[in-house]
Every structure is written in C-alpha cells, then in structure tokens.
Symmetry: D2
Subunit: 374 residues, 4 copies
C-alpha cells in the first residue's frame, strides 16, 4: 500500500480507516519508555510527556552509571518546570528491551543509539528516535509530520519484528529548514538553497559547549552539523515510491554557526525556485500552508505551523521561539535575492520543535494513523 | 596626476617623491581635532591617538550640550584604558571650523555630519570622516588603505578650499568584507558575493541596542546596514579613471544581523569568481596578499592584513578580533560552495579596523602620501 | 473595622463575611484599565490579564504620543506570547480618569504616576499602583498579599473619593526580600539584615540599560534602588495600629547590583534574629510558611509561596525564577553567618512576582476582601 | 633571620644586601618551566612570560596525554594574543623534575599538584604554585607581594632541598580581597568582614562551567571556594613570628557566586574595623597605600596597586578589570554600613592579578630579594 503516490495530491479520505481504527485505542493510555532519560533531550521529553493526554511515562532507561537509582537521584534536572513527582520516583533501568511499555522514545547519545534502538525494534518496540544513527537507513522514515507523514509507510518494509520499528526525527536545525521550505516545494519547486545558520547553545546538549568557548563569541563550525544539511533534506523532501524514498533533487550550500543564545535556531535562507513567483505569492505560500496532519487534531500540533512576519527585524529567537509552545516555525525578512530568487529568515525552537516536541508529535501521528497497536 | 591607472599594476617607484616630501614634515607633530569626541567612535579615536607617534589631539568638539565643559566632565568614558590626563582636561568646543588644528577626524552622528564636515573642508581642514553622509559623494574617496589607496587622488577634484578636503572611511562591516575580497578581486576577479553578517553590539554605538532587545537574542535586521553593502563595495573596489570612480561590476546579496557579542563583525561569504581557482590557489591569494601600503611603514599598519586559518571553527571573535591590535582581518572555513564557487568566514574588529583604527591609518596614509601639508 | 489588630494572631473567621460578600460579585467580570499600557510592566500586565478568570482588560491608556492609535500600532510588543487580538485592537486613550472601568492598574513612569494616580482615585477609581510615588504615603497600603494583607484597611483612611483609592505594590526587589523574611519575622523576630542583590536587566524596564553598558559586566549600583531597601521594608513589615502603620524596627544594610541576566532578582541575605533558632527550625519556618491569603484561593496565588532548597547551588535564576508561574520565592544556601545569625540566598521573578503578577494578586485580594465594589 | 618582626614597621634598609646580591644575576635571564602548561592558567602564564624582561620559558610540562608532542600541537590555545613561535615549538615534557630550568611555575590541577610540586622542590627547584594543595602548609609562604612579602622568610624553614622551595599564590578571589583589606588592616585594624562575591567564568578554568549551566543565570555556590575565604586570609594577613605565621584574628562571613561575565571577580565587602575612621580617612587609606614592594621596581608591579573610585557605579568589570594590565585592584562604592562600619565594592582580574600575573610578580620578588640563585 502506498499512502501517497504524489505528495502534491494527497487524498485525506484514504486515511479514514486508519483513523477510525486508532480511535478505538484511545480509551486506554499509551505507556512509554524513555531511553537516555537523564540527558537534556530526555529531560525535555519527560517534561512535555508528564502532562500529555495520551502518553504515560512508565519506564526510564539510561547509562549503567545511572541504572538502579531513582530518577530524581540520577538526574541533574535542568528544566525550569519542576520534575513531576510520579516520574521522579521511577527507577532508572538499563537500556535493554524489557521495559514493558508500548513505545519508546530514544534520546540516546549517537555513539550508542544505533545498536540499542535496533535491539528494541527487534524485540517488538516501536522506537521514535531523536538520535542520528538510523536516520539515513533506507527503511527508516525520517519524518517531520507536516512535511512527509506519508513516508511512515516505509516502516512496512522494516524487518525488525512484527510490531517493532524505528522512526527517526531529523536533525534539530534541519527540521526547521524543511518545514519552512515545504510550502515552497509544493507550490513552486526548489532548485537550490543557500543556508547560514545561527544555532543556540542548547543544540549541543549538556554539558555541551564550555561557557568560556562561546561567551562573547561565535563559533562558525558545528561538528557533523553541516553534513546533516547535505543529506537529510534530500530524503525528507523526497518521494516514497515502490517502497523506497527517491531523493528530492536540490543543491544545498550550508554553513552552521554556534551563537551565544540559549534556545532557537535561526537560519538565513536564499532559495532558487523552479518557478519564480511574485513576492505576494511567496507570502501566500507561507501563510496558507495547511499540511494534511493538521486535520488529525494531534495534541501537539500547531494551529499554524508557519508564522509569517512582515515586520522588519522579525523573527527573533527571544520573541518567537516559543510560539505555539515552541512547535511553530517563524518566517520573515522575505526579500528578493540578487543571486538566487528569494531570501528569508526562519526560526524554530531546537529542543522543542527540533527534538522532544517533534518526536512526540511523530509518536502521536504514528498512533493516530494506526501504525502502533497495543 | 594619476597615482595609478591600473590597480593591478602598481609601481611603488611612482610614490617616491611623495614619500620624500612628506618625510620632511615628520619633524613636527600633527595636531588633530576630534568632531563628535564624546561618542563611542570619538572615544576610541582618542584612546588610540593618545599614544600615537605622529598625532597630538589638540581640540575636541561635540554637541552644544557638551561644549564649554572639560572633556573629562562631558564624557562618559567607556574604554577600558584610562583617559589620558592631557586630553581629560581639554575643553570641549562647538563643532565649528575654528579648532586651530592640522586635521580633523569626524565621528559625528550621521544626522549632522554632512554639513559640519563640509564646513570644515571649506575652511581648509582635511576631514577624515567615519560618518555616512559623504561616502558616496562622487568626489569623496571612500578608502580602505590596503584596498584602494589610489582613490585618494579624487580629493584633487574636490572644490572645498585650497587645503580642505573630505576623505571617508567605509561602513564598519564593509571594511572587513572588501579587505577579504581584495586579493580575490586582484587574482581571480569577482562576479557575485552572497554575505550573511553577524555583527557585534558595539557597531550600534552607545547607547545603541537596549540590553533587553538583544539579550539571548538575534536581530536579523540592522537599519540602513544592508543598503551599505549594496552600494559601498562597488565604489571601493572600483577603478579611478579620468577623475572619477568606475564602479566594480559585481552582484551582491546581503543579510545583516545583530548578535549578542561585544566586538567583532563575522561574515559568512560565498563568492563567484571570474576565474575559479583551486583551493590551494585561493589560500595562497589570502596568505600572500601584500598591498602596496605595507611598504609605507605607517604606524597603524598590519604586518599581515589577512590572517588565514586552516583550523576548523576559526576565526572566532573572542580569539581573533584583537589580532594585530584589532587591525587585521581573519579568514577561515574555506570550502567549495555548491552554488557559487567558494565560501569562507571573515572576521574584523568593527570599532578598530572598521572605525577608529581604520580612520587613523587613513590619516597616516594621507600624510605619508603628501596630501596634507601643515 | 479592623481586619487584624495583630499580625501574629490572625483569625480567618473574621473574614468570612467579606468573602461571602465578594463572592456575589463574581458572576460578572471586572473590567480593568491599564495606565502606562505600552511600557514593559504594562505589557506584562496585559499578557497576564488576557487569560485571567476575573478580569477583562477594557481600557488602555498611555502617553499622548500613543493616544489615539490602536494598541497594536502603538506598542512594540516584547512578550514572547502573542498579543491577544481583542486587546490588540483596543484604542489607546489618554491617561485621564474617564476610562469607564471598574479598576485600574498603573504601570506609569515614576515621573508622572503621582498626579495621574491621584486623579484617578479622586474620580472614584481603585488604583493598583506599580509605581513609586505613593508608596510611602501614610494612607497608602504598601502590600505583598502574603506578608501584610491586613494593611489594606489603611484605604479606609484615604480621602480621595467614596470608591476611589490607591494601593501600592512595593519595589520589585523588596517584594522578594520581605516575602523571604516574613516567616522569620513571625517565628523569631528580626533585628538586622544585610543584603546584596544581583538584579536582572528587565528590572530597568525598556529600553533600560544599554547592552554595551552591561554586556560582560556588573554595575554595582542601581539609582534609587538602595533607598527603596532602606524605607519600604520597614513599612511592609510594620503593624497597622489606630489607622496608621508603625514601622518594624530593623537595621538594614543593602547593596544593589545589576547583572547580565534577563529576569530574576537574586539576593544574598544575612539576618540577625531576635531569637536565634536552630538550622532545622529556620528551614521549617520557610517550608511551613502558609500565609492567611492562601485560604482565599485567589487565582494568582502560589501553592507554596516559599520554595526551600537544600541542594547546594540552588536557587538559580534560570532554573527557579519561573516556579509557580513566576509567583513563588525561592530560598536556599542556608548557612550560619559568623557575623549575624544566618545567611541564605533568595530569588524571585522581578517582572512577575515583583511587578505585574504581584499587582494582579493584590487586585484579586482587594476584590475578594470586599474593598472594591462594582 | 627575620625580615620583619612587625609588619607595621618595615625597614627597607634591611633589604639592601639582598637587592644588591640579586642585581648581579640580572645579567643573565632566568629560565623557567611551566607545569600544567596546556591548561588555562598555564596558557596565561606563557602569554605573559613570552615578553618578560627577566624570564625565558625553556620547558613545558603537562599530563601524559600531552607529553611528547610539540606545545602548539598539544594545546588548544585560547588566549587572544598569538602564541609566541619559540614557545609553540617547545616539546611538552612529563611533569617530572628534570626540566633543567632555574624555576618552575605550577599551574597544575589541584588533584595532582601536591605531590608533583613537592617532587620538584625536593630536586632543588623553586616552585611558584598557583595550585591549592600546599597553600596552608605551615612552612609554605602564601604571598601577595603588596600584602605580606615578608612571609617569604618562611621558606628558610622548608626542608625540601638546599635550593628547592615552594611558594604559593592564594586563591584568585582571596588575592583581590586581601589587597583591598591590607591598607585598612595597617591603618585601622580589622575585626570582621562580610563578603559576597560575583566571580567570572574564567575562574573555573577550561572547560569549566558548561554554557547552559550559567547562561542567563547565577550560581550562588562555587565548590571549595567559600572555604578558601575562611582560611587563607587569616594566614596572608597574619604575622611571621619565630619561623611561623600567627593568624590574624578576624571574623569572616562569605558567599561566593558565579556570574556570567568573562573575567573579573567583583566583591561586595562590609568591614568592621578596630578603630572606625572617618570616610575621608578610609578613602585616604586606599589612595595612599604604597606597599614596600613598590620600591623594588619589579617588572610586573602596579604603579598604583589600589585604584579608588568616587564615581557611583564604579568599579565595573568591563571598565576596570584591565587597569594596569590587569594587576591593579579597584575599590569604590564606599558607604557606611549600618551593621558593620563601612562597605565597599572591590574588583580584581582573576586570571591576571589573581593567578598568572600574581605568580609572576611573586617570582620577580623572590629573585629580587635573593631567595633564588642560579
């Protein structure tokens, strides 16, 4: 089955069966486990999930040094909302696939995530991964729900186990980029993008960047980051055909910088389009972007995935990163580019939309579309 | 007389007479006045000039509210080296052309600089301007000494008075850009540049940006800044022919951002060259750039105007903005650009190389080349 | 009528009539006006009030330059939650007492607040003031609800008009200090306090401190701030007797500093008590502090007004300023002081607990206790 | 021999012989080794020593992981002046006492410094230590040259070897404190001090504090720091009698905080004096403080060790930490304290005066006074 043969011709009706099927399950809550629960993405996941309408955090796993302790004793909680008492008292377990939950989120370090996530999938766990290792696996969908939900069908080609699967969330900066590009792709087609990022400190996790290295400073290089920009967008913006993803043909030039702000990745994007539209048409494309998943009423969805600003000087991290609880992408400073066609600035919250929130939205989509049963 | 008909064929010998002529004058010091002495560029000028081998600050002028007070009482000194006692006790005068000095530096606000600078030039003062209004006047040379010293000849077309003249220093970010571009222009020719800037707080002067506006924030817009990038480089990189500047043909796309660092403008530049060289040739062009003015042994010159870095993650404002007392430009992160030919990162100190230090180097050049007599 | 003759012997029963009386009014919403609506405290008030269960913002007033425009056009909105559309389209009026609302919050600048607030009170408006001028008026209660709600009785001695009155909120840093001191005053009595503050940038309003003045810097002096510490606590901690406040006898030594953080005033407090308790008793006093107003279930109340931390290094602005939506005060680092008796660190959110949130809680208290009828 | 029986009655004449003796040695340079050369204090030492008139860096030692490589390859150079080429090409050796130099500076980590420094002293090396372990050894002088140079005599009681010895520099914040206190001790006697510090990021070394831990934050606790304040000042301000230090009787209450600034420890100090002077007398004591070592014309001395400021809001780290190349201490905000006698703010550069520069001044003193022969 192919959810969509052509991303520009999505028929919502084809999903009705799935939705109806999954509705049945909402009578009981989904129990979830967090792999890498003590790290910064893990903490963010826990903070967001502790008040989630569908999910209940029932299992926490981390490295061996933490395993065996209560979560509150193992974690150095760095979120500015208090740790929920129910989760505080959960024991931290080892990251082996006997957590007894319906679904796991992986916030594991890239050095160990590959094997552990595969182990969980083999034992029947659906794994929503925030980590890097499986993102480019041919059978692993790399999904931003508003951009390429239809790629989820790829899981049917996975061989881990009957119910086990891996679905990956893209790099935290790439998420914001492809979301801003998606309406342009759909309306005009994209030939080339030139992107310069200014990325927040939280993107490096904890402890991440030493304060002395970044205080009053800019580091115009983020290890492994530029290469994400050179591979992930092709897959995310690509087309699912005959059980595999055909990469979207596109030229990308990227430079990634670390700047001294807490949260929010800002990107200066110049874009060459297949059909150059008027400025008004560009604006309309951003403003009227209503991806299919909007109809699903997922708990973590945005009302408006892209907020377009006409005000000069917008968007700004301090003012706009938290829009729609950090799930919206902001776009502004739209101007013609004398070299490519147009240039604009886009901003997204790297640890929410780009990581924890994006992963949760992905899990919601997975359930709503009936990929996960429990 | 034409100092140079062709910037690519400079014959140092043609200057010997000038140099010899100006040497005579070094027996006595040059007395200088500062217009806009209490502002942040004025303070920087004073700090640098207070230990200068040629110049003695003999007159200070500022707005009417400051005039009549001692400088130490009128200024809110914000430089981290103490104010020199001799200058501290100078009276602040009104900015009218009776300062009785050999040369003036103008650090006036753009709103008043135009008329006042012209008044001084008409009364016989050579004016080195850090302000915007006269930069694009057809007869006013817009000069970075290492880039287009030969444009100084333009002053001979000025009609202010026998000895009076205006010479302008470019925008503080443009200075860094054209310096980094100059060896590429000379070696390969430039067709197009795409530049994204991350500019420091001090670029906005004092009080400048409110702390709450920029704390933990990026402002992807600097009023009037982008337009400087769209006009000044054409003139600076242009050719003096028959008493006027022929603009250098070049396509420029720029986006300017304010980031929360104190000093240092960092720019991510992609460049399309007329003749695409090898990477090694690019590096050699940066490393071996020895502009003519190097031979003049001006007190504020760099030993090496462009410092090229191979290290990943270099240059960085905190580590490299102070190279050669803030007068050197740093270049690094050189990579091929899939859209244009090459991309790199350049950094320069905005208040030193980009403003006060650049203006002083310009004054030194003016004297050394015999344009100013006293 | 006296709400309380003795602050240490509060009888909740005496309030039952008031509560019952005020309950009647909750069937209709309270319409409120904001004086100084475009400033930073005004914006915070609007952001908090736009989702308040009792209050509806119906009128906005600001300086003459803003009056006559729609609020969305007059304000430079700097809050990271979007401006509510209903409020965005309200017209900005002049700050004269014909706003037609039940109550006004004043976020006016100290230079004009004195007269305008008095004008409003004379015309029958209850005024909740965030400004300085009336704070030390003998008839104006200076109130932190958890500390000295009983001082509200002072309004009965005001002569503005039948229904008009002024109630003041203390200085934003003093609020946090007296809240942390209150349980110690009640349990042990206080003889002397030595306080060193590290105050956030937002305490200076907007534009406030220039970024260059405070970037990578500490300014160990805040104009007019130290004097607030030397007068306001005496009144707030004082006793209402025979229609006037008897100052609490106490020696205070304070030093106030501005530090480069966005929000949250941190204070290092050493305290000499009348009866020196054990450390355990000190901790218990903080932890078990349940002020009378807790019983009133006001919408903006804290569950726990003081959060006590045993962890070394707590409290910290980034982690704890937002506790209980920014309304809670944090206390930690409790140690014996070799000079006074004990020392500790306290932290509170200056623009929420210290300003807008504190003012709203005060308004809620005023209504709940039946001081305002409408 | 006792250099001084009474610190208040120093007779410079008694040093004449020493000075004369040491003058002889200045014909040849002193070769020095750096232990812990790759760390942040080690780098600062190298930067300062690379242009020193007496010292030549001839040996570098670091941990085993660095040993065997050239310094330029082993170090991540983080100083904003370029690494001197002669030093760049020195090999990094193991920290064992066969470096073949006249003197070593130890910038070793506290976990290993104790044993290694003792090893060097036993092998005949004079060791100037920036590390903690030996500071409170009864025979190790803990010296700030302007405060207690006479304590150097203690080395004569050391038993390491004929020429080997250990001299320690105090904690980086304590250095600034005792320097500001010294004139008060001499003039009025001190009974008690209450100090609250705001300490810069560089005080934690590199990598030190993670940026996310301190960004937009204050950490009101620095591990092991408060205890330095509770022990070191007693020794430094104490009196050498009969071959041992008698602690200065004094009550100290301290709270140490980490604030987000790069360099400069600011301290708010309240002080109880034995004889309370007038404010003018206090100011005079600060201004007229001319310690004995001033006469020695050491290369790294201050002209004025304490800069006193009357301006409100001074001293500030960004403006004053670099006074006298970072070696001067600033004092300001002097006011009467209602609890103790006076309060003031003091500021010193933690990595220069408080560490590398202070250690070099100490080495200069050692040589000038004839303790080190070579």
């Amino acid at each position: 089955m192919s959810i969509s043969d052509d991303i520009q011709d999505q028929d919502p009706a084809s999903f009705i069966r799935d939705v109806a099927a999954s509705e049945m399950h909402f009578r009981k809550r989904v129990s979830v486990g967090i792999l890498g629960a003590t790290g910064s993405v893990g903490q963010r996941l826990i903070a967001l999930l502790s008040k989630h309408p569908w999910f209940t955090v029932s299992a926490l796993a981390a490295s061996e040094s933490s395993a065996g302790r209560l979560y509150k004793d193992a974690v150095q909680w760095r979120i500015n909302t208090p740790l929920h008492p129910d989760i505080a008292n959960l024991p931290v377990q080892q990251a082996i696939p006997n957590l007894g939950c319906d679904l796991v989120f992986s916030a594991l370090d890239a050095t160990v995530a590959g094997d552990i996530e595969a182990d969980f999938a083999k034992k029947g766990y659906p794994v929503i991964s925030c980590a890097r290792p499986h993102r480019m696996d041919p059978n692993v969908p790399l999904v931003v729900p508003e951009v390429n939900f239809d790629h989820l069908e790829l899981v049917k080609t996975q061989q881990y186990s009957e119910k086990g699967m891996i679905i990956a969330k893209p790099n935290c900066a790439v998420v914001g980029l492809v979301l801003a590009l998606r309406p342009l792709q759909l309306e005009f087609g994209i030939e080339a993008i030139h992107v310069v990022t200014m990325q927040a400190l939280s993107g490096a996790g904890f402890p991440g960047v030493p304060s002395l290295a970044v205080f009053d400073n800019i580091i115009p290089y983020i290890p492994t980051e530029a290469e994400r920009f050179e591979i992930e967008p092709y897959k995310i913006l690509g087309t699912l055909k005959d059980g595999s993803i055909q990469a979207y043909p596109l030229t990308i030039s990227s430079t990634c910088s670390r700047v001294p702000i807490s949260d929010g990745h800002l990107q200066v994007v110049s874009v060459k389009l297949k059909r150059k539209p008027s400025r008004e048409h560009m604006i309309r494309a951003f403003k009227e972007f209503v991806p299919y998943v909007q109809e699903l009423n997922l708990p973590s969805r945005c009302k408006t995935p892209i907020h377009y600003f006409d005000e000069e000087g917008y968007p700004q991290p301090a003012l706009h990163r938290d829009l729609e609880s950090g799930m919206a992408v902001s776009v502004g400073r739209l101007r013609e580019c004398p070299i490519l066609d147009y240039k604009f600035v886009t901003l997204s919250h790297n640890t929410i939309r780009g990581a924890s929130g994006g992963a949760i939205l992905l899990a919601e989509l997975l359930i709503k579309k009936g990929y996960v049963f429990w």
